[in-house]
Subunit: 319 residues, 2 copies
């Protein structure tokens, strides 16, 4: 596909001039403007690109499945993918799954039908068996531990980082530790729950199921979590919250209701989003934009790879 | 394209069963599972969809240009577009422009090359002339006042809502009112600045250029804005902030530094994002998800239309 440089060459003007014409910049002579528009018209844009795809077998489109585009977590991953894609002249086809298998299958079908060159699944809903049936049609990249499966993957050490967070809270004297997760049944949640159970079992200690909160995904969820905690006779003294948005919602509720953080309740977040920096929340840094970049590079790189990302804890003021 | 119902019919099973197979649900007999997988294989998925596009002249893809996907403002618009698109079996091709004309032109080229059926530009960078050259190739929808141009548009009454906000602040006794905008030269910013100038000029009053802040887009920008205000001999007593994210950043800085809001500084935000509800920020509600939905409907509806959206002010605790 011709780009701005080709147009400049064809029109006999500089790239800057083309850019100015496109931007409607006032200081371009009418003659040059005409030349640029003419060049755009006569450049090889006219051929139907879909026909080109048929012959080349490539679309320069990468499919990206996200459960909800509005969640900052996924927004940052998509930004990383988009940043890298633009360099290689790829575009993204966005499929919002709402965690419905049919929508994710739709994306897998696009790969099979060669409407996209590769597929990145940011949070999987379909079974491994379903996903693996489609790997014969093009690269599939998942953002979870995909070792042992016919996909490429980039994943975080959720088990280790949860263990580290628990050890850290224990070192601060906390025994009654709760957690707030998003989906109860997701691969990432399973790893975190395993880390939690193993932590308590290895110490021969019991843990309280009332301290486990699920479906915690956005700012507003902080309120019902805290209301439930306030009703407990024996509430947790610390919470591991796998989203800074939710952690911020909990912290805001505490501040408004005179609950001392970390005195009465310690909070550890995850992601290190801007809101965690702003509210001084102790959190684990997840390099989401970088993860998106690497996912794209896996998508176009060929071959299968599995990359594990280690998370760093950032101590601030909520523990 | 065959969907889950077609597969169910072909396999002689219920839609629920197909869904269970896709989800890897354990309670499905091996025979039914095989039937479903077989049906998926023999369904008409094999034809190359790009060839279908050539004959039908449709791709069922809608291009969406956003400057930055991570900004909640645009994330909410894209969610609205995606919500509506899925109902009609459309998918979105996301083009992150970073406000670079070349990237936006790339999206316009996709329309010309019939890689997408329509294009929604959430925040325009190219000139009207450039955009209008491409309307012959398919519907183009802009999220700004497009009346008088060869496009469809959905736009908010930025002039009126800014005027209402100024009148409201004046009724509360404020004369030294500043504003925080994103891009200085955008169509929306121009309307807001015009409303501001007209408000002061119609009252024969002078206004202070030091009270005008630009490039205010995210949470972190609250800090430098407040630091600049703290250095002023004669600071503003109220701020109109066209992003709740920035308003939240300003408010957080004030709370940490003992600046009384609204006593020393009144703040009016825009968008009514979750963070504005959480921090009790007085703001204008912009129905971003609804705007996204309507943009999609314009994109597939045919014909040109211009819809104006009226914004409502929500009084909370920052004025």
């Amino acid at each position: 596909m011709a780009n701005i440089k080709d147009i400049a060459k064809l029109a006999g003007v500089s790239v800057t001039t083309v850019s100015r014409v496109l931007n409607g910049h006032p200081y371009v002579s009418m003659a040059k403007r005409e030349a640029v528009l003419q060049a755009m018209e006569t450049a090889d844009y006219e051929r139907n690109i879909n026909a080109v795809h048929l012959s080349k077998g490539r679309t320069n489109l990468i499919g990206v499945v996200v459960p909800y585009i509005t969640r900052p977590y996924f927004g940052m991953v998509v930004e990383g993918i988009a940043d890298e894609a633009i360099k290689d002249n790829y575009k993204l086809v966005l499929i919002q799954s709402n965690y419905e298998a049919e929508r994710e299958l739709d994306a897998l079908m696009m790969l099979k039908l060669k409407q996209i060159d590769a597929l990145i699944i940011c949070s999987r809903t379909c079974s491994w068996e379903t996903v693996e049936e489609y790997t014969q049609y093009g690269p599939i990249i998942v953002l979870e531990d995909g070792r042992g499966h016919q996909v490429s993957s980039i994943f975080m050490d959720h088990y280790q980082s949860f263990t580290r967070a628990l050890t850290y809270l224990r070192s601060k004297g906390h025994h009654k530790i709760g957690y707030c997760l998003a989906r109860q049944s997701s691969p990432n949640s399973n790893l975190r729950e395993a880390a939690y159970r193993d932590f308590y079992r290895s110490r021969n200690e019991a843990y309280n199921h009332d301290y486990m909160f699920y479906d915690c995904v956005q700012l507003e969820d902080g309120e019902w979590i805290m209301q439930r905690i306030l009703e407990m006779d024996d509430p947790p003294t610390a919470l591991l919250v796998t989203s800074d948005q939710v952690a911020a919602g909990i912290l805001a509720f505490c501040r408004e209701n005179g609950i001392d953080v970390p005195g009465q309740l310690a909070i550890v977040g995850f992601d290190n989003q801007p809101i965690a920096r702003m509210m001084h929340i102790t959190t684990f840094e997840i390099p989401l934009v970088e993860i998106g970049r690497r996912a794209f590079l896996q998508a176009v790189g060929g071959g299968r790879a599995h990359e594990e990302i280690h998370l760093n804890m950032i101590e601030r003021q909520t523990v």
